[in-house]
């Protein structure tokens, strides 16, 4: 806004006219008055930007007019025209807020300068006002923002599912949210600004946070840790916690601790484990039921054939049927033994034995079955493995299981062009283990099957497997402090290796 409208007040009409003409020619708009009273009225009605008034006027003089105008608008620019040497009036005028004064006779240049100054002042004031208003707005905005943020933070802290506790530099509690009250069992009113860290926490927990604060800036945030906190009312709560040490300009100002109550999570974890166990049991039972059903099919079929043999006095039928029954009775026996082995903790019974001999025994057992299925069995034994201290039963059963699996893998192989073979190797490894390697070139296993190899009741043999074989083998070997290793690829066969710790038998020197 440009200050353009000027009110000229003087009792001498000629002066008013001259000034008015002069100012108009400079581009100002002018209004005039010939007395203080008239000046005040014109001021009210015209709202000029600047007032130029003579001091000495009959009736209301310039000083009085100045006072009235300033009462209406204290910021209005009023320029006083004084007679030469009228110092007292000039001082009074300045005291009353006149913005400038010029001497009579009024010279155009002097007036122009005074007006410019007034205009500048108005402009500055307007700018200032604008700034101030802006500033006020900005301050209001910022205040609102801060209020919102602090409200938000307060809400955040209040509604957090984590317990949040903050201490100032004297270890006095300054923040203690409702979840913290829940966790520690102390009401906020008894804690906030009243308790210290030692009042609230058990010594162990308090020490962790105090030590952290001592470590300065190197470790401002603790990594999340799990712990059990003992509350004052004697509860034990599993928590995950972390803590931030707060510094301001390098000085310790306090710490904030966050606790996550793990009770629920632990409970859910337990439930999950439980449900997985139930699912495993379900799988176990259905796998087992399948296997038992197959035994039943064999027994029923066998007994029918035996019945026919008896009726017809047919020895062949009797033999065939009886074979079926015997085979399935053995399956029941093996299953029972596997189940017992799996369910019971068993200590290996160490005795002097010859691993190569045991391997030979097992090979003799399976040779016929392998042969009748077109599978060639070969062996390669390390004769340096002499007598060892080991549990022969573990070796026997584990090896028998692996070789039976190898035969099944050959029988199940879709590739009938292959010459199926199994090789059993014994050797010593670098880590002082004596090892049995059973290698077949049968169907091999895909990744999924491999992953479930040692799962209870997992079987890739349909109803023909109990799903206990490798499980039991794994358990036996583990109890013997050994390991089982598997290498396999679909279509490429599998290699299972049992490694047992080598313990040489001390030969006693009779002499």
């Amino acid at each position: 806004m440009s200050a353009n409208k000027i009110l000229i007040v003087d009792d001498e009409e000629i002066i008013v006219r001259l000034l008015s003409m002069s100012l108009r020619s400079d581009g100002y708009e002018t209004v005039t008055a010939h007395s203080g009273e008239q000046g005040l009225e014109v001021f009210k009605s015209e709202a000029p930007d600047i007032v130029v008034t003579d001091i000495k006027m009959p009736g209301m003089d310039g000083l009085e007019l100045l006072k009235k105008i300033k009462e209406i608008d204290p910021e209005k620019e009023v320029i006083i025209v004084t007679g030469h040497g009228d110092i007292d009036s000039t001082i009074t005028a300045l005291q009353r807020g006149a913005s400038d004064f010029i001497n009579k006779p009024v010279r155009d240049e002097a007036l122009a300068i005074a007006l410019e100054r007034a205009k500048t002042k108005i402009a500055i004031r307007e700018k200032l006002k604008e700034y101030t208003e802006n500033l006020e707005f900005k301050v209001a905005e910022a205040t609102e923002e801060i209020r919102r943020k602090s409200n938000f933070q307060r809400l955040l802290i209040k509604s957090s599912h984590d317990a949040i506790v903050a201490f100032d530099h004297d270890w006095k509690v300054v923040v203690y949210n409702p979840e913290a009250a829940n966790m520690f069992g102390e009401a906020a009113k008894d804690v906030r600004n009243k308790m210290t860290i030692d009042d609230l926490y058990t010594p162990k927990i308090a020490r962790i946070f105090k030590n952290q604060a001592k470590e300065e800036k190197r470790q401002n945030t603790l990594p999340w840790r799990d712990n059990i906190i003992n509350t004052k009312d004697g509860r034990q709560i599993p928590v995950r916690y972390t803590s931030n040490v707060l510094h301001k300009k390098g000085k310790f100002v306090g710490t904030v601790n966050f606790f996550e109550d793990l009770t629920q999570i632990k409970r859910l974890e337990k439930e999950l484990v439980q449900s997985e166990r139930l699912a495993a049991v379900g799988q176990t039972i259905s796998g087992l039921a399948h296997y038992v059903k197959n035994i039943l099919i064999g027994l029923k079929g066998g007994s029918y054939v035996v019945d026919v043999g008896i009726q017809k006095n047919n020895t062949d039928k009797l033999k065939t049927g009886w074979e079926s029954i015997k085979k399935n009775i053995k399956r029941v026996g093996d299953l029972t033994q596997d189940l017992l082995t799996y369910s019971k903790q068993r200590e290996p019974e160490f005795e002097e034995c010859l691993p190569n001999d045991i391997a030979n025994e097992v090979i003799e057992l399976v040779k016929d079955v392998a042969g009748s299925n077109g599978v060639l069995v070969s062996k390669e034994f390390d004769t340096d493995i002499g007598e060892v201290m080991a549990d022969p039963q573990t070796i026997h059963r584990s090896l028998l299981n692996l070789i039976n699996n190898a035969i099944d893998a050959c029988i199940d192989d879709e590739d009938i062009s292959k010459k199926h073979a199994i090789k059993i190797k014994t050797y010593m490894d670098k880590n002082n283990h004596f090892c049995f390697e059973v290698k077949d070139n049968g169907c091999g296993m895909d990744e999924d099957t491999q992953k479930q190899l040692f799962d209870p009741m997992f079987s890739s043999k349909g109803g023909k497997g109990t799903g206990l074989g490798l499980l039991v083998t794994g358990k036996l070997v583990e109890e013997h402090n050994g390991v089982i290793e598997v290498k396999t690829s679909p279509g490429g066969g599998s290699t299972f290796t049992i490694k047992l710790p080598y313990e040489k038998v001390n030969t006693v020197d009779i002499n």
Binding site: G302, G321, D413, E414, G463
Partner: protein, 130 residues
């Protein structure tokens, strides 16, 4: 003339049981141990009926069944499914194959879940062969 019936099953107990049942009822039994051997026998012997297991090594019953039902020369031969697995699982396997290979294979007429009594098996055979 006596009818020829082929038993395809990898379990020797099942084979001897079914063979005995067939002999007792004046049928001529033929045996095969797996799907591959089964198909060879079918082509060679042209049996009047097939008693087929599902889970076998080397060419399962799932595949042999499908092969029979899509072969113009073989689809007339009646099949009795004779297995330890549930019908639902068998149908599911065929449905997956239907989607995979296109076309649709008819469901088996007779599906017996082991174990069965000899009379049940004979009744099923008679129903098919008259």
């Amino acid at each position: 003339m006596s009818k020829k019936i082929l038993v395809v099953d990898d379990d020797s107990d099942v084979r001897s049981f079914v063979v005995t049942v067939l002999e007792e009822n004046q049928y001529i039994p033929l045996v095969a141990q797996d799907g591959v051997e089964g198909l060879e026998m079918i082509e060679k012997e042209q049996p009047d009926l097939i008693i087929l297991d599902v889970l076998m090594p080397r060419g399962s019953g799932i595949r042999l069944y499908r092969k029979m039902k899509t072969d113009d020369n073989l689809k007339k031969i009646p099949i009795i499914m004779f297995t330890g697995i549930a019908l639902r699982s068998f149908l599911k396997s065929q449905k997956v194959l239907d989607e995979f290979k296109g076309g649709e294979v008819p469901k088996p007429d007779i599906y017996l879940e082991k174990p069965v009594e000899p009379e049940e098996l004979v009744a099923a055979i008679k129903k098919k062969l008259g």
